[in-house]
Amino acid sequence: MEIMQIVGIGLLAAFIAVILKPVKPEISIQVSIAAGIIIFIMLIGKISSVVKLLETYNKKANIDMVYFSTLLKIVGIAYISEFAAEICKDAGESAIASKIELGGKVIIVVLAIPIVTSLLDLIIDIMP
């Protein structure tokens, strides 16, 4: 199944990265980046089918598309910033990793503002 492949590639890449660590630490980071990309590309089919399913139910319940797309963007931003932050931590640069996470959080807050404002407007209308 897919999981066996993912575990195999992950262990192999970790093994190679450990071999290269003392000799060439720069190349071992590249190996971990390449492994992360390969594993994500293997998962595309599954993620996009989940997204399509959510999209069809979103249309069925005719919820506004804005909410769903912002939600997806937030998930994407969270994934990418976590991906980069972990790689920076592996490379020993935890300061840069926290900066990347800070950036991700700020962008997510900015993206969430329109939803929060619409919620607050709704609450204000309801209040007597």
Binding site: I9, L12, A13, I16, I19, L20, V23, K24, E26, I27, S28, Q30, V31, I33, A34, A35, I37, I38, F40, I41, M42, I44, I47, S48, V51, S69, L72, K73, V75, G76, I77, Y79, I80
Partner: protein, 64 residues
């Protein structure tokens, strides 16, 4: 199916370390940083299209 990329990067890394030790033995020590740099640049050039494809797929999936 993409294992070949990992093996290629590993091969370049090991090759680089061999080149380094050769340069050390034939006391051309000043060439070592140069060899390191070229090796890393080669690996980066190999990785860039994959990273671009990675970002493009994220854009399409997460409706950026």
């Amino acid at each position: 199916m993409e294992l070949e990329l990992i093996f290629r990067i590993a091969a370049i890394g090991i090759l680089l370390s061999i080149v380094n030790s050769i340069l050390e033995k034939s006391d051309k020590k000043e060439l070592i940083p140069l060899a390191n740099l070229t090796g890393i640049i080669i690996v980066i050039i190999m990785l860039v299209p994959h990273i671009r494809e990675f970002f493009d797929t994220i854009k399409t999936i997460f409706l950026f």
